[in-house]
């Protein structure tokens, strides 16, 4: 299989699963990742887990970022992880941002969401973590 060169730009999918119209945060993060030199595939609003996983496979991304403010994260995130696994995309790290209570965040991390950013997280921190996840780090 063809390995990805370290010098190639990081490709990241940013998507909002479910019925949630608040995309300001996702757009700000997309822009910060772009300014950090990444190729950001912005899938936008109202994506089903199926659409997200399909986009991740077709776009061959190194990383997936999910934004959610609707409260449906416990229903939608595990579904994305499960579908990724069945599509052999399980090695693609997933991070998330939005309004996610600490208790849910802990459970989601146990399920495989690699990082969760709440309100007030600095863009620097998001870029740093995203870069490290995409490059195979923690």
């Amino acid at each position: 299989m063809v390995a990805r060169a370290k010098s190639a730009p990081i490709r990241v999918l940013i998507a909002k699963p479910g019925l949630d119209g608040h995309d300001r945060g996702a757009k700000v993060v997309a822009r910060a990742l772009r300014d950090a030199g990444m190729e950001v595939i912005y899938a936008g609003l109202r994506q089903t887990p199926e659409e997200i996983v399909r986009a991740a496979i077709e776009e061959d991304v190194d990383l997936i970022g999910l934004s959610i403010l609707s409260g449906a994260h416990m229903a939608l995130f595990p579904k994305v992880l499960k579908l990724l696994k069945s599509e052999q995309g399980a090695r693609i790290p997933v991070f998330a941002g939005g309004i996610i209570p600490d208790e849910d965040a802990r459970r989601l991390k146990r399920l495989g969401i690699r990082a969760i950013f709440g309100p007030g997280t600095s863009l620097d921190e998001i870029v740093r973590t995203a870069t490290s996840l995409a490059r195979g780090g923690a």
Partner: protein
């Protein structure tokens, strides 16, 4: 066609319809990874027959929405579709936001559609360097029709000429008076003009201006561009747009201009690749070979002129293996 044993496993996987293999190979092409070279070599004979439709035009004219509507129409006709959507890379950070998927509307389970976003990564003329080979991979994967949507940089975006079999230039009402249509570039490459957002006032005037220009203009290889009005809001004109594209595709066959046009494109591609190769050889050797450094010293000391030095280097380059 069925896969043959001589093909590398990745090539066979692509022909089998393995979407992940296709996606990986496209990344390798984008990254200039030489590991994909045998795959491209093996799959090349499987390309060259599908219509390749280039959609281009200024920012915000609705290319992505239009393509989504065209794909829905084609799926209704039972045709499978591969799509490459190119967006610009930032000259500052190298990063980009590829947003064409937002407009793309289709059932997630539909395996007969493959959509890939691509950053231009510094290529001028609106078509990423890797687009051509990505199109061939999509063809090898068996998609019936290929769409290439390019960053609409206006008058200079003509690189799509070297890539598509039918070029659709998408415009909207009120982009400017008919003098704009006389300007060189974008207007000269169109096989089909599409006046999109025709639900807005002024669409008829735009259509008339373009039709007049097409009628008075010199027909390129015997083809006069057709003009179609579309709207993705109402929606209207989508089947007509596809028919206009098909008419141009049939014209290529009936006028026997498909083969010469393809040959011309291939010549440009081969010259481009050979030039790249020679340029990088030249740049490397000028840094590393003592004889060449000495030649440059002589130019610097005014003992030899630059033209004669270049002539000598070119001869040397042609001689070497």
């Amino acid at each position: 066609m069925t896969p043959t044993r001589a093909e590398p496993p990745l090539a066979r996987a692509i022909v089998r319809g393995d979407r992940r293999a296709l996606a990986r190979a496209i990344s390798a092409v984008e990254n200039g990874d030489p590991a994909v070279d045998p795959v491209l070599r093996a799959l090349y004979p499987r390309s060259g027959t599908a219509p390749i439709v280039g959609l281009t035009g200024p920012l915000g004219v609705g290319k992505s929405s239009l393509m989504s509507a065209l794909v829905t129409h084609l799926r209704g006709l039972g045709r499978s579709v591969g799509i490459v959507a190119v967006d610009p890379s930032s000259p500052f950070s190298g990063g980009s936001v590829l947003g064409d998927r937002i407009r793309f509307d289709r059932p997630a389970g539909d395996a007969a559609v493959f959509f890939r976003s691509m950053a231009s990564r510094g290529a001028s003329g609106g078509v990423a360097v890797a687009t051509r080979e990505t199109v061939r991979l999509l063809e090898a994967a068996g998609f019936d029709v290929i769409f290439v949507e390019t960053v609409g940089s206006g008058q200079v975006d003509v690189a799509i000429r070297d890539l598509a079999t039918t070029r659709v230039v998408v415009l909207v009402p009120h982009l400017g008076d008919e003098v704009q249509t006389l300007k060189a570039g974008l207007f000269e490459i169109a096989d089909v003009f599409c006046v999109n957002k025709s639900d807005l006032p002024g669409a008829e005037i735009a259509e008339r201006d373009l039709s007049e220009m097409a009628a008075f203009g010199v027909a390129r290889d015997g083809w006069r561009p057709s003009v179609v009005r579309t709207s993705t809001v109402t929606p209207s004109g989508i089947p007509e747009l596809w028919r206009a594209i098909e008419r141009h595709e049939s014209f290529l066959d009936s006028s026997q201009s498909r083969a010469p046009a393809r040959r011309q494109r291939l010549v440009r591609e081969i010259v481009e690749r050979a030039t790249d190769r020679l340029t990088s050889d030249l740049a490397r050797r000028i840094q590393t070979e003592p004889d060449w450094a000495e030649l440059i010293d002589r130019v610097a000391d005014r003992r030899l002129d630059p033209r004669s030095a270049a002539e000598r280097l070119a001869k040397e380059l042609a001689r070497s293996p």
